[in-house]
């Protein structure tokens, strides 16, 4: 098993920036996102031997992050901690310090999407996964993925407006 860990350790370090990005786009909060990545890394190391080395490590990790997030939301509900994504959507983390209106408007628009659409948009448009890979991460058929992606895109287009046409 430690052999399996050795195999993914280096690639995981390289993936960290993208794992943080995916988690942040999922949760909208930098602190939550990094906690989520930490949980996912710990889970990945425990299950390192389950990773199919013919598959993509990033996809595998995105799936683990997504499941960790679902668990987190669930257990917070059980503990009475209010961690509703729509609640969080107004709390855009400005940790980059960049007063970039464009960045803020994209983040705000993204935060308004239902979670399933946001995940699809994150995986395909931001992380560059193929439809098939994204559908696998989300455990849904490819047709469901494309319809969520299309609806997410449509909503972003409306929210962002002013895109070149």
């Amino acid at each position: 098993m430690s052999e399996a860990i050795e195999k993914i350790r280096g690639p995981l370090i390289e993936l960290l920036p993208r794992l943080r990005r995916f988690a942040r786009n999922l949760t909208h909060q930098a602190d939550n996102a990094d906690d989520l990545v930490q949980i996912a890394l710990e889970r990945a190391l425990v299950r390192a031997d389950q990773w199919d080395s013919n598959g993509r490590l990033d996809s595998w990790m995105f799936g683990i992050i997504r499941h960790a997030w679902i668990d987190e939301v669930r257990s917070n509900k059980r503990r009475g901690v209010h961690l509703d994504v729509h609640e969080l959507s107004d709390v855009i983390e400005g940790s980059t310090g960049a007063a970039d209106i464009e960045v803020l408007s994209v983040q705000t628009a993204m935060a308004k999407l239902p979670e399933e659409q946001r995940t699809a948009v994150s995986l395909v448009l931001v992380e560059g996964l193929s439809y098939k890979e994204a559908a696998q991460v989300m455990d849904i058929p490819i047709g469901t993925l494309t319809s969520r992606l299309a609806r997410g895109r449509e909503a972003l287009q409306v929210l962002l407006g002013g895109t070149s046409s």
Partner: protein, 250 residues
Amino acid sequence: MNISNEVDDDTLMAYADGELDADQSAKIEQLLQRDSVAAARVAQHQALRSRVQSGLSAVLSEPVPESLLNVLKQHDPQSQADVVDLMQVRQRKSAINRWTTREWGAMAASLIAGVVIGMYALEFSPAQLVSEQGGALIAQGTLEKTLTTQLASANSGQAIQIGISFRNRAGKYCRSFAVQNAQALAGLACHSQNNWRVQMLTEIGSSNSGDFRQAGSGLSPQVLKLIEQQISGEPLDASGELAARQSGWK
């Protein structure tokens, strides 16, 4: 929703996302020539894609917290072994310096090895296009000249084709290019002081492979991905490209 009489929006979206195979893509490309509504829709899909990606990627340039690195480090019986990787992560903080000197060295070595094998088939070998200086690959010769002077509108008949020109997040101008060799190459270079640093140079296979369909615009999937990671805002249009050239890409 049907944007055009001939194609549904899901298909245009899939085309914009690079999901269609070569045959399907060719059909859509023909349609786009004559259907301006569909063409505008594809452009809209692509613009949204690059906008969303650049808007949601700020975290990539932030330093990775030690707490996360420690998770991976703690499982290491010989934690010294991680030092190189940690340094690589820190160097990755900058989206521009994505590759370390060591990786560039390895890439340069593999390019040179490729030259020996493929020389007879290449009008331009990688060694003619780039030289290694201090761990970076610098465009030289025809490639350097093409990047500096050629507009995408003047690609016709040229050995090296210019694809997309854009500004990266550091405000530097970058241009994708394709070299129409027997072994076609695609790449991306960004202007830095007085030279063009080649961020990526990759073989895109023979004309039989599906990847070749995009070679004319220098858009191999790998190059496209790199552009998406680095672009700030929209690609330059023809007048933006001209203005950038006039300003010496500074």
